[in-house]
């Protein structure tokens, strides 16, 4: 999903129930392993100015603002925040910076 004038410009969503192991780094230990509920992987993709803004933030702040944006997108009158909504558990929040990566490969056509 494309989100204009937002903290995270793009989100990619995956049904990660069967893909979590493949998508998560091996070093990541889920805080709530083997969740019974469906697991989804939400990836926020931010470059340029959006990434520059994040550069000065802590991981916790980035995750919190990302969740706040998701709340704004998916929340309703009953459930205004995902974290307080017991329908959802946040397994983990990862922030990956590619600032020092020499090569980033993005499939442009697929991403558009």
């Amino acid at each position: 999903m494309v989100c204009s004038n937002s903290f995270i410009p793009e989100f990619w969503f995956e049904d990660a129930e069967t893909k979590t192991g493949a998508l998560m780094p091996e070093s990541v230990v889920l805080e709530h392993p083997a969740p019974k509920k469906p697991t989804y992987l939400a990836t926020g993709f931010a470059c340029a100015r959006a990434a520059e803004l994040m550069a000065s933030m802590s991981k916790e702040e980035i995750v919190a603002r990302t969740l706040a944006q998701l709340d704004e997108m998916f929340g309703n009158k009953q459930y205004t925040t995902l974290l307080r909504d017991n329908r959802y558990d946040l397994n983990c929040g990862l922030v990956r910076s590619f600032a020092r990566s020499s090569i980033i490969v993005v499939s442009h056509q697929s991403c558009r």
Partner: protein, 334 residues
């Protein structure tokens, strides 16, 4: 905040969450980029182009988030065309740049879109599996795809014709063979005869060995095969071992043939054999030799290796940092 699903942005089918007509017109503006005539003197950015097209603030914001962000840039940093001067004088910079890098200056978004335009619009996903692709390709193969046809030998002695023989003695001829049999399988003797044929027409700018001579590349293949090293690591090791003795510019045509019991190195010419010989002298502390490994038959290199082989060299003295020495250590006496 305006939220729009990517497919909506792509098709402009729905305003979605307040996108309104901005999304559609923005999408049309981007989609028509590839139709623009290249004008390297046009200094406009993507942002200016969208403004000129009358794309609304909302639409431009969506393009910023969905298009420019994917290109790791912003609309006001993305050039529409780039400049001819840069394109001619300098190699093209990476198509995508991070926010701290300069935007792609010699390939504007028009050129980028032209590169993609041949594929048509949208993304596609196979309904079932990749088997549909394989089956479609297989339908165009004369005789179809044969499975359960284990090859036991490959005869490439006749120029232009390769004959495969299976375990029942049935034969099949082809113009070429691509063997994907893992080395581990080869070592178990799965193919008892000629098991791997690799042809190199190495102009040193291909096969990823531009910094190395063909001899180095070939030896690297042998070394990485023997020691399960990556090709790049083997190349580096070979380069270190041979120093600068080898001619790095010579273009050779080399055919490497590997057999389960025989390893042959055939090359049409070797520009600097003396240097190669010097690089293979016993300076690598080779003092004895294993007798139970591959036979090394080499039309030219055998003469170089013969003194070493006759002297006898030991693998036990090979340091891990000397893969070339280790390779020689794997070779039995002739």
């Amino acid at each position: 905040m305006c939220v729009l699903a990517l497919d909506q942005l792509l098709t402009g089918s729905s305003g979605g969450g307040g996108g309104g007509g901005g999304g559609g017109s923005a999408n049309n503006a981007v989609w028509s980029l590839w139709k623009e005539e290249i004008n390297y003197n046009d200094p406009r950015t993507l942002e200016q182009y969208l403004l000129d097209k009358g794309v609304s603030d909302e639409g431009r914001a969506l393009i910023e988030a969905g298009y420019s962000n994917t290109l790791c840039s912003t609309s006001d940093r993305l050039p529409l065309y780039g400049t001819l001067t840069l394109a001619l004088r300098a190699p093209p910079p990476p198509l995508l740049s991070c926010s701290r890098c300069s935007p792609p200056s010699s390939q504007g978004v028009v050129r980028l879109e032209q590169a993609w335009s041949g594929d048509g619009g949208g993304d596609y996903r196979l309904d079932d599996s990749m088997a549909a692709v394989i089956n479609n390709m297989a339908s165009k193969v004369n005789g179809g795809v044969r499975v359960g046809w284990p090859v036991v030998s490959v005869d490439y002695s006749r120029p232009g014709v390769v004959t495969l023989t299976n375990e029942k003695g049935e034969t099949l001829q082809a113009s070429s063979v691509v063997s994907t049999v893992p080395v581990a399988v080869l070592k178990r003797g799965a193919l008892l005869s000629l098991s791997l044929c690799v042809s190199y027409r190495c102009d040193t700018s291909r096969v990823g060995c531009s910094r190395y001579s063909t001899e180095q590349a070939l030896l690297a293949v042998l070394v990485c095969d023997a020691l399960s090293l990556s090709l790049s690591r083997a190349m580096q090791a070979i380069s270190r071992s041979t120093r600068h003795c080898l001619d790095r510019t010579r273009t050779l045509s080399i055919r490497l043939v590997r057999d389960y019991n025989k390893l042959s190195l055939l090359h049409s010419s070797c520009h600097d054999r003396r240097s190669l010989a010097n690089s293979l002298t016993p300076r690598n502390n080779l003092t004895s030799l294993h007798h139970d490994r591959h036979v090394f038959v080499c039309q030219d290199l055998s003469r170089i290796l013969a003194p070493l082989l006759a002297r006898g060299v030991a693998r036990s003295t090979c340091a891990a940092s000397e893969p070339l020495a280790c390779l020689l250590g794997c070779l039995p006496a002739c």
